[in-house]
């Protein structure tokens, strides 16, 4: 995995804004004969645009993960249910909607009116392909059947990055901890269910790494589940136990995969909510470091987590590992000033060492903010990284 040897490298958390016509093809469930050529050209375009805006470690914008409308917070995990056997829809679960996942949330209780009113201030909160999954339940043995889909993603990205002069490329895949959110009727307990999910999704991980790409595992659930399941009861011990098991599960999925081909992304959920229920990074940092990845991508640019750069003063980043802190965020329409981006990078560099920091985004920008803002933020990110490099390397 590339690191910031003589300057601060840049990357992002994965999702980028899809072209309108690509979303329309997904929306209309277009046949492969129409979808695939456009998907391939869109991936080529988005790879080039990342390079043009100064991004060093690029991806396919997650374009192979179906997004059907411009506001969509869920494509990063909804994509996988076309790639997994063993799930079917249960109407009684569907009727519960999102509450089936967030039943134990203190934040959703305290801000019930806000969430009920979709923010109430004309700011879209939830438009999401997650809602297509309400009701989806595990009713049989879980099996990975997405080989063709991930092969397609790989085959479209590989030529797209040729000749761009980028440092490296990554592909995202969802974590077992996220997958185990959906209800289970088949396995005898949550542990068996999670383990089966880990074995299944591990096949996708392996194909990404075998193809020569960096694997990014998206695991917001590792931190989200505190608020969703445990916060109302204040059950910190229960959460801790749950999270420890999830780390074991993801490591099981990663068995045989070299650590230096893996980066691990956590975020506290990208919806535009208050996030007062987010578990502090310091509660989970030691567990995070147990994940067999070389790099950790973490939100650090939004108002709930910006202060947490200080955590790394007390938690030692093991030798050889990297941090990819978010230095621009989807949480505000305002485009970060490059000087602020530089300040944020320098703070991390001073704590963990400049060669151990890659500048990233809090979470995916696609689906969360307007496309023009997403690209302006990526530009601000690379401008800020240049300023920081100048300061850090003179």
């Amino acid at each position: 995995m590339k690191r910031s040897i003589d300057r601060i490298l840049t990357t992002h958390a994965g999702s980028l804004p899809r072209p309108e016509d690509l979303m329309e093809l997904y929306r209309n469930d277009a046949p492969d004969s129409r979808l695939l050529p456009r998907l391939q050209s869109a991936i080529a375009d988005v790879a080039k645009r990342q390079a043009d805006s100064g991004t060093d470690i690029v991806n396919d914008g997650e374009f192979g993960k179906a997004m059907r409308r411009a506001v969509d917070f869920g494509a990063w995990w909804s994509y996988v249910y076309d790639r997994l056997a063993g799930f079917s829809v249960r109407t009684e679960t569907a009727e519960k909607g999102r509450a089936a996942w967030t039943f134990g949330s203190k934040e959703r209780k305290e801000f019930a009116e806000f969430y009920a009113e979709d923010g109430g201030m004309g700011r879209a909160q939830t438009g999401s392909s997650s809602s297509r999954m309400f009701g989806l339940t595990c009713t049989g043995p879980v099996k990975y059947v997405g080989h063709q889909a991930i092969r397609r993603d790989i085959e479209f990205l590989a030529p797209a990055i040729r000749g761009l002069g980028v440092e490296e490329a990554f592909i995202t895949a969802v974590s077992p901890a996220t997958l185990q959110i959906l209800a289970n009727e088949h396995y005898k307990n949550q542990q068996d269910y999670t383990w089966a999910l880990a074995e299944a999704i591990g096949e996708e991980y392996k194909m990404i790494v075998d193809a020569g790409f960096i694997l990014q595992i998206d695991d917001p659930a590792l931190v989200d589940i505190w608020d969703w399941w445990f916060s109302l009861k204040g059950d910190t011990a229960g959460y801790r136990k749950w999270a420890e098991f999830q780390v074991e599960a993801v490591n099981h999925a990663l068995r045989g995969i070299p650590e230096d081909r893996v980066r691990f992304h956590i975020c506290w959920g990208s919806w535009h909510g208050p996030h007062t229920g987010d578990t502090p990074l310091k509660e989970i940092a030691d567990l995070l470091l147990r994940v067999k990845a070389q790099a950790y991508s973490i939100e650090a640019a939004n108002a709930r987590h910006e202060h947490e750069w200080k955590v790394w003063k007390h938690v030692k980043l093991p030798d050889g590992k990297l941090l990819i802190p978010g230095v621009v965020s989807h949480a505000t329409n305002i485009v970060e000033h490059p000087e602020l981006v530089a300040d944020r990078i320098v703070r991390f560099a001073q704590v963990v060492g400049r060669e151990n920091v890659i500048a990233g985004t809090d979470c995916g920008l696609g689906g969360r903010i307007h496309r023009q803002l997403a690209w302006a933020k990526l530009t601000a990110l690379s401008e800020g990284a240049k300023l920081a490099s100048k300061e850090l390397w003179h």
């Binding site: 709930r304 305002i334 307007h370």
Partner: protein, 421 residues
Amino acid sequence: MRMSTDRILTSHSGSLPRPDELIEANRAREAGATADEQRFQEQLRSAVLEVVRRQQAVGIDIPGDGEFGKSMGHRVNYRAWWSYCFNRLSGLDLGGPGLYDAPPRRTRPGEIVLTSPADRRDRTTFAGVYNDPEGSVYTGPRAAHWPVCVGPVSYKGQAAIQADIAHFKAGLEACGVEEGFMTSVAPGSAARLANFYYKTDEEFLFAYADALREEYKAIVDAGLILQLDDPAMADNWDMVNPEPSVKDYQKFSMVRVEALNHAIKGLPSDRIRFHLCWGSWHGPHTTDIPLRDIVDVMLAVNARAYSFEAGNVRHEHEWTVWEDVALPDGKFILPGVVSHATNVVEHPELVAQRIVRFANIVGRERVVASTDCGLGGRVHALIAWAKLDALNQGAALASRKLWGKCDNTARPLPRLRGRSA
């Protein structure tokens, strides 16, 4: 004016979320459908009392009236801080073309003119964002008409400002709070209207200064802190198309400072604070002028304290400006350490980090922690109050760090909202 003598005090920029019933009543009143003015005033008075109480409960040291006397007829509203004065001034025709229907105007070197809101540089650069049907920059229903000046401007809002003052003072008294602030718009921001009466824009501006002086004086005479709201000082920059030279812009802005200083001449500067922001709409703000370029213009205002945005991602880095700019003796600042620009509620630790950065430069007693801009109309009511809560928790953490006998990390932290620290 209270300063942070033994701990970091807190205040905010003025606007707070109006209760739904007041919004309903405002809407009816704006449409001329309020039969019983007396009853409306009673409703307003009890809403002001409640909002003073709530500020006190959350720990705000220097509260305002939430700008409740400045009518908002919709939950989403970005203009009440300015539009309130339309009915308090004579010489205006309220039936002019809508704000976004004005034609663009072009600036030439040495000759700055303000263009139309629709032709703002940020708005044209990010046309897709501003016209996004998903509405992330939604600023509420647009007014069909906007005022134009057609005659001599004079103040006729005596009854309105006296009612605002009476309601607020009753609220302060009931809560036993001694110091409270009331906002009033500055001439440079208020007079951004088409002028068909005065020979020059400067004459128009000074007429506004003379008229608004009455309101300023009423607030100060009542024993309240006067907060002068003047976003135009910063956001005019984006309204000059094409981008002018900084020197031309400073010159243009200094004329507006002269008008403002003229308006407050003879009023005790110790009772006046000044609020600057770059416009509170949820846009990208890439064309905001750096604070560094206008800080001297701001400090030329004869006020005791200066409130400005420092809690959003376009201006957070600007605390370093104060390393190079000498804050005159006796003056203090109210940096924004929580912002309307995101729904995410600032972590108290972040609030504390921001406060401490300022305190380390200008001195702890010269920082009152505040908000970027008004929270009312810009974020959901629950978010607004959660942010004020975070502001106070953060100020408590910062105070402990700045005055405490030992390092903050060695002491137990107060319990935070949600999970304990």
